[in-house]
Symmetry: C2
Subunit: 116 residues, 2 copies
């Protein structure tokens, strides 16, 4: 099952969640330097990207993303050290989970119907 | 962060997904002996539970749930050995993922805002 893929979701004590979508958004902001660029890269509306960024920031004691509103450049955004830490911790948890699941993945693969 | 909770989602090679909702449904069918009982236990509509069972069954080379339609008892359902295996593998992957993530969870806890 080369394409079977494990992703993780973290349900936080304060009721919020961190999953693959929010982490991909933070990484896309790092890569593109703006929320609009990240939204385009992920084929997501600008509005949705903004709402997700707000949700992430509200979850943390320090914001993960700081954005310049407007301005000549259209407003850039950057991922803060706290945001980088979240991405890093999430990817570590995911890598550990994947590398510890090899046997179960192979067993699961045998139970899955191939094709569509 | 006593309540921070990790759950996993498996994106299968055939395009389907197995996550905490479907696994909880299989477990509730095991516990209650019917899809309607499981739907009640999970506060889900009967229709939604049926659709999820169909989705799970379509994913696998053998069905995970067999149901008696109608009949005097209103129709019982049971989880097949293939279904039990899926639940077991999922829970194992989850347990491994959780137990390997202690350090990262503590680090994550420090970045999270408390309360609502």
């Amino acid at each position: 099952m080369p394409d079977t893929h494990l992703s993780i979701r973290i349900d936080l004590a304060n009721g919020n969640r961190i999953g693959p979508g929010k982490i991909a958004l933070l990484e896309a902001i790092q890569a593109t330097g703006s929320i609009s660029g990240a939204a385009r890269a992920l084929e997501m509306s600008y509005r949705r990207a903004w709402l997700l960024v707000e949700e992430i920031n509200n979850t943390l004691s320090e914001p993960a993303v700081t954005a310049e509103m407007g301005g000549r450049s259209g407003g850039g955004a950057s991922v803060t050290p706290a945001g980088e830490k979240i991405v890093d911790l999430y990817r570590k948890i995911e890598t550990n989970a994947r590398s510890s699941a090899g046997t179960e993945f192979r067993a699961l693969g045998k139970l899955i119907r191939r094709g569509k």
